[in-house]
Symmetry: C2
Subunit: 124 residues, 2 copies
DNA sequence: CTGAACACTTACCAAAATGTAGGTACTTCC
DNA sequence: GGAAGTACCTACATTTTGGTAAGTGTTCAG
């Protein structure tokens, strides 16, 4: 299935210089993963994303979308209309990553009470 | 299995104020996920982690270990010896998160060639 | 005619993250 | 006795990140 090009060194996130680190940092940046997960619901417009992702600013959303697009994780479609109409969706790679990030996020949501964030769960 | 406390609002990472966002940000911080993944190999000492995770500084490793411990994702064991001997391992919750973060990171490693890894994207 | 929505961009500034260098108190190795 | 290793901590400086507010040009609703 997946051939490893012998000319390329094996990707390794533990290696500071490996390009995988860069992608990983974009995905797990403050907004990157949330944008990806939001797009799992399907194609969304800029302002829809903005409303959906609590706390994100226009500036950050625009920037995040650009980075993710450059990484090949989402694709941007401009309908060339006026007023502007642009929407975004996941690429195949984006979907693969989004689902994994979602599983991470979702586990956290579902198990929040076991984590050290709560007011006080009396115990050891 | 999992009881949802009806008194608590449902966790939602899209909500800026949801505590899950904080955990998620720790896990997907620059070093958090890598520390968790590194510990999947078993109990490791501070200096072992430092050597394993390329590019991390002592300061950042120490800080990251503290927040992960506070979140209940890793546990610290001090052998009380001199010279110091301290080691870390994943808690159950830590394992659950580590495996999910690993799957994300590993997919990226394995599929790097499909991604737009072009280094620079002069922005801002 | 005013204001809002759209999808952004830019300048400016504050805050957060991170690196560097030094220190600690001790031990083992050469 | 000097160097290196252990697991940190602290102060300081820098780099990166992110928010705010303003602007763009057009269209539509009131």
């Amino acid at each position: 299935m997946q051939q490893t090009d012998p000319a390329l060194p094996v990707a390794d996130v533990f290696n500071a210089d490996c390009p995988s680190r860069m992608i990983l940092s974009h995905v797990s940046s403050r907004w990157g993963g949330l944008v990806l997960v939001a797009l799992r619901d399907g194609r969304l417009r800029f302002s829809e994303l903005r409303r959906r992702i609590g706390g994100i600013s226009e500036r950050m959303l625009a920037q995040t979308l650009q980075v993710l697009e450059a990484d090949g994780l989402i694709s941007r479609r401009d309908h060339g209309e006026v007023p502007p109409r642009v929407d975004y969706c996941l690429t195949e790679a984006g979907e693969a990553i989004a689902i994994r990030y979602f599983e991470l996020a979702h586990w956290i949501e579902a198990n929040l009470s076991r984590l050290g964030t709560q007011p006080a769960l009396s115990g050891d």
